[in-house]
Symmetry: C2
Subunit: 230 residues, 2 copies
């Protein structure tokens, strides 16, 4: 026994995934949909509410509802919700990220092109220029690792990695603000990574990323000791 709004959600989803309602397309108004499906506007509103939470549509008051690409960050939100109920620590999260990064590096070495290297070098240089701007530095760090993930040519890696990083971005931010010198070591790691990848030296690249994660682990420890993060 399914409810009316659930049926409508299913129908709209199928219309979205079959491109009858392509990305960017405006949905009919709530009143219009109510007529089409022969239900009350209430039911339509609940269906739209569900689709919005799932990130499939975006609603603007006074304008309408539009089909959107679901944002990768929804994964981070979902994982965070679940983590709360499974006694998960930041260290657990970082452990999984480390595995992910290693897996990424292996595949980057298999598939990266010289253009990928150029992109990484560019981000590296941008970070050099931003050693005084903590916010910008953290942002570029996310970009660096995401670009690395993109070099695998497996679209799942950037999606997952950015989600994981999102959950620990405040650590990087707080620590860099506390000890700006930490940026130097991070940059050394980044440069070593690019070079190791260019040379196809998997072992070196992996040991570098492990060191990089180890630093983050210590940063978490320090911030916890000083009660800056929970």
């Amino acid at each position: 026994m399914s409810s009316l709004h659930a049926d409508i959600v299913i129908d709209l989803k199928s219309k979205i995934s079959s491109n009858i309602l392509p990305e960017g397309q405006k949905l009919p108004s709530e009143r219009e949909l109510a007529l089409q499906y022969e239900v009350s506007r209430n039911v339509i509103r609940e269906a739209i509410s569900v689709l919005r939470v799932e990130g499939l549509i975006m609603v603007q008051a006074g304008k309408g509802a539009y089909v959107t690409k679901p944002n990768p960050m929804m994964i981070a939100e979902t994982i965070e919700r679940i983590m709360k109920n499974y006694n998960t620590t930041l260290e657990d999260l970082l452990e999984v990220r480390e595995g992910l990064e290693i897996s990424i590096i292996k595949n980057v070495i298999k598939r990266a092109t010289s253009e990928d290297s150029q992109i990484l070098y560019k981000i590296y240089r941008d970070m050099e220029k931003n050693r005084t701007n903590v916010t910008q530095f953290a942002k570029l760090d996310l970009q660096f690792h995401t670009s690395l993930a993109e070099s695998t040519k497996n679209p799942l890696y950037p999606v997952l990695l950015s989600s994981f990083m999102e959950m620990t971005q405040h650590v990087l931010f707080e620590f860099t603000r506390l000890i700006p010198e930490s940026m130097v070591q991070a940059q050394e790691h980044h440069l070593a990574l690019i070079k190791a990848i260019e040379e196809g030296d998997e072992d070196l690249a992996i040991s570098t990323i492990i060191s990089h994660m180890q630093v983050l682990r210590e940063e978490i420890k320090v911030l916890k000791e000083r009660n800056i993060i929970g």
Copy 2:
């Protein structure tokens, strides 16, 4: 400018995570909540609708809404939604799973106890008994890998791995139904894995899991060639 139901969602979420509304607790009725928050029932319904989609509560018509643990499978659903929009293939998914499995094995070898081994052996034996029941075999395979993930003592691993496996379960199921002999090799891998872990032989365990994934990769290829899966 936030809407009313969004505010209520935030408030209810905080009450859930702070255990003012513990798991299993029945929420006040919609009318009751409408009175408490001084809004209409519609607004409450939309808020409840959101919480339900996020897996924080469960609603039963005629009974009420109850606080529930968010189910790990929500991650699979979220990832699946996003995959659809990023041209992700089953092979991409499997590649990420392989990295996850390797990461799991490394940590299992660090932390597994003899009880963990016993559990794995038990599932292995159950699978031996179920060589004729494809459904049961697939179910136990999921259990085996999830138990392996649990042996890491990092709660994130079983959550993520079961999500990933969930998305490829139909592959295992269809292929085993097509070629039941494939169960023999899978079991060989499982046994080899347990033994390698017991002996702390990381390299052997990892190469075994890679072979295990390689088989799955070939199964996907065959099923795609025969148009059994997309």
